[in-house]
Symmetry: C2
Subunit: 296 residues, 2 copies
């Protein structure tokens, strides 16, 4: 069993490639470490504004490798602070293959692992299928000095399959870098009250589905979301950490930049799974349909 560690989640605006914003990002990472954070989670595509709001070929120029200046700088910061850092980035893999990825920088300066977003959304304002080749590394648990980390990204959070497969790989915590928000261009056809109720329902659904992964798999779950308005999108923050019973351990509001922390103890994972032994009772003989699109 891996050792307990303190998990920190950073909530912030995007666009960290801007010099002033990069300073804010590194300040928040330092704050997370100063508060005892040993593994630090950042929001999805944190270096950029959410360019997927539109389809523009020029935005592919934003993609980069782990040799980029910003990447190297954050990798060095992780080593300096002695923390494990989950760094989501727009990966340039080759000409024509761009991915929505997250690297795990180890506390000793090495790279512990890489995850490439498996489930790619595409809705008005979230044109991700245009930019991102679907991940091909599968669902993994990445062993680090500070925990067995199940890294997934944003849209993955709506899929119980991704959570289950990552849990079965041995993760003690699912980590979701995220960029999700309300879309003002959607609310034209309903009254302000109805729009407000719908916004509350969507935020609640987002938290509920992730808490359900904690419950179904008996492990910790954390999401780091961005905040701030970008065009017609208002990123809704509410970054949180939940325990293996689905209980909220820490949560931010919908606007503030900052850091939340919670202890992740693998012994809690094992205790929860003894009380609620779902993994014992899965009907793997009857799950073949999970590999199909539909029953018809």
């Amino acid at each position: 069993m891996s050792k307990p560690f303190k998990l920190a989640v950073v909530q912030c605006k995007g666009n960290a490639l801007d010099a002033g914003r990069f300073e804010t990002l590194t300040r928040l990472i330092r704050e997370a470490a100063a508060k005892g954070g040993q593994t630090i989670l950042l929001p999805e595509l944190v270096l950029h504004d959410y360019f997927c709001i539109e389809e523009n070929q020029a935005h592919f120029d934003l993609a980069h490798t782990l040799e980029s200046d910003a990447s190297k700088s954050l990798q060095a910061l992780a080593k300096e602070l002695g923390v494990t850092l989950v760094f989501p980035f727009f990966e340039k893999r080759s000409a024509g293959i761009y991915q929505n990825s997250a690297a795990v920088f180890e506390a000793d300066g090495s790279i512990a692992g890489l995850y490439r977003k498996m489930h790619i959304p595409h809705d008005p304002g979230f044109n991700e299928k245009y930019y991102f080749t679907p991940g091909d590394l599968g669902f993994k648990s990445i062993a680090t000095k500070h925990g067995n980390l199940g890294v997934l990204i944003c849209w993955d959070q709506w899929f119980p399959e991704g959570a289950r497969l990552t849990a079965l790989q041995g993760a003690d915590v699912l980590l979701y870098p995220t960029a999700i928000g309300w879309d003002d261009s959607e609310s034209g056809s309903v009254s302000p009250d109805e729009a407000k109720a719908l916004e509350a329902r969507h935020l609640d659904a987002w938290i509920t589905i992730q808490r359900s992964h904690a419950i179904a798999n008996g492990l910790f779950v954390a999401a780091a979301n961005r905040v701030g308005r970008e065009g017609h999108l208002r990123f809704w923050g509410n970054s949180f950490i939940a325990g293996p019973g689905g209980e909220i351990l820490a949560r931010m509001d919908s606007e503030t930049e900052g850091v939340i922390l919670a202890d992740v103890d693998p012994a809690r994972v094992e205790a929860e799974r003894r009380t609620w032994p779902f993994l014992r009772d899965r009907r793997i003989d009857a799950y073949q349909g999970m590999l199909h699109r539909s029953g018809n």
Copy 2:
């Protein structure tokens, strides 16, 4: 697309084979129909007290077929009222094969379908693996006059796989007959305050995991639980109906016998899935691990 219908959920104590209790059960079914209920859901093993609280060979005598007096009586009642009735029962399939099942009685007096509980729990006070042969009919949607019904039973509700597979079969609503409660024999080692907090957390987890199935699959979900104390078990009621966004449409308390109702409109299912198109984006090429116990 099937037509909209009104779903009614009956919450009650068990032991309906007792003459007085059977009268209460039929009164509640009549009340559900009188209030407009077209499909009516009953709690798990409603004819019996929760005999799985202990392991006793004599309890196998309780098992019966759909030819039993009580079963025939409820089937006739469904026809009389013109309702579709989901009737959970302790099925005697053959000598040595006993199952935790649910029949769907059609409004015309026929039998629309049968489900046999796939995931079988076993914990102190819930000795179900002793009594119940695991189901072998798989996960199904049962087409009825009043809706495409995805019948599952109790422990199934903790498994996203069962919900997903049933949804993929075309169900507009997942129906969970249930017998779940708090176990007083568990709370010995903690303070009264801690025990109370743990009870609240477990109830909340039970509701959350089922709401998550509504969210992940964009369909309605309902649970009919029993109430009342039986030995060291206090069945926690809180039967509810949730909409395709996971929103609670109706919910009972932890003690009262009664009926709740909500409209189930398949058009809402389709609308929700267009807004949140998760079924479009499943990575069926990467889900092979769902058929395995573990990644190691």
